[in-house]
């Protein structure tokens, strides 16, 4: 997509960017008293200008996440709020899970 992608915070100039947060990690499968696989929950946020037609980006980002093995559990989108001073932005949030080997 060509947008900057950072973990947790973005301090750049672009008005379109992606931040992700490593939200939760827990064991998914056990064997021999050890975790064989873990499930990780990620929050991925696509930030775009309020008046930007974000829908094509939403579709592309969802497809990209799925192609990398993520399960997109939920997508929400809203205009940001006046109280935070970010009312010119739209947030589209992908709640994702990934299950794989613990390494």
């Amino acid at each position: 997509m060509g947008y900057p992608c950072r973990q947790d915070l973005y301090d750049g100039k672009s008005d379109k960017f992606i931040v992700y947060t490593y939200e939760d990690e827990r064991a998914a499968y056990y064997a021999d008293n050890d975790e064989e696989e873990i499930t990780v929950t990620f929050m991925v946020q696509l930030i775009t200008p309020q008046k930007y037609d974000y829908f094509a980006d939403k579709v592309r980002l969802k497809a990209a996440l799925k192609s990398e093995g993520f399960t997109v559990v939920n997508i929400q989108s809203w205009l940001d709020d006046e109280a935070a001073g970010t009312e010119k932005a739209r947030r589209t949030i992908f709640s994702c899970e990934y299950t794989g080997a613990d390494n």
Binding site: T21, Q45, A83, I93
Partner: protein, 145 residues
């Protein structure tokens, strides 16, 4: 074509399921509130009492339109310490709801140096087992005896 079965007299043997359902979620609600308070406390930066934590409240149990039974934990009221000015006029001191403060915690404001500190998922995962156990106990007490 319409096929149907009709039973009579069965209702005399069964308890009132609205009463059972509402009692089940009422029993589970405090578990959700307790876990929500604990998880929100972890993401509060300052020391001492937190009005955000203290604002976590259990809703009144209710029956949904799909015959489901619902109780929720929510952030009640407005902040007594946080206000904001209108971004264009720079005027006024508008109140901020505790729910909005909770949204800022959950999702952060990535462009303003405030990272997301998600607590909702952790709350649900932490509360799930105990809440289900409590609901099962109410069901067993009211239905199987």
């Amino acid at each position: 074509m319409n096929l149907s079965f009709e039973f009579e007299g069965l209702s005399d043997l069964l308890p009132d399921f609205d009463e059972v359902g509402l009692a089940m979620v009422e029993e589970a609600g405090p578990v959700l509130v307790e876990q929500m308070k604990e998880k929100v406390q972890r993401v509060v930066k300052h020391e001492g009492d937190s009005e955000l934590v203290n604002s976590v409240t259990m809703s009144k149990p209710r029956k949904g339109k799909y015959d489901d039974y619902i109780v929720s934990a929510y952030f009640k009221g407005e902040s007594k310490t946080k206000t904001y000015r209108h971004s264009k006029t720079k005027r006024g001191h508008y109140k901020v709801s505790n729910a909005l403060k909770a949204i800022w915690k959950e999702y952060g404001i990535p462009s303003r140096d405030i990272p997301a500190q998600p607590f909702l998922e952790q709350t649900l995962k932490a509360a799930e087992t105990e809440a289900l156990d409590k609901m099962q106990k109410v069901f067993d007490d009211k239905v199987t005896t």
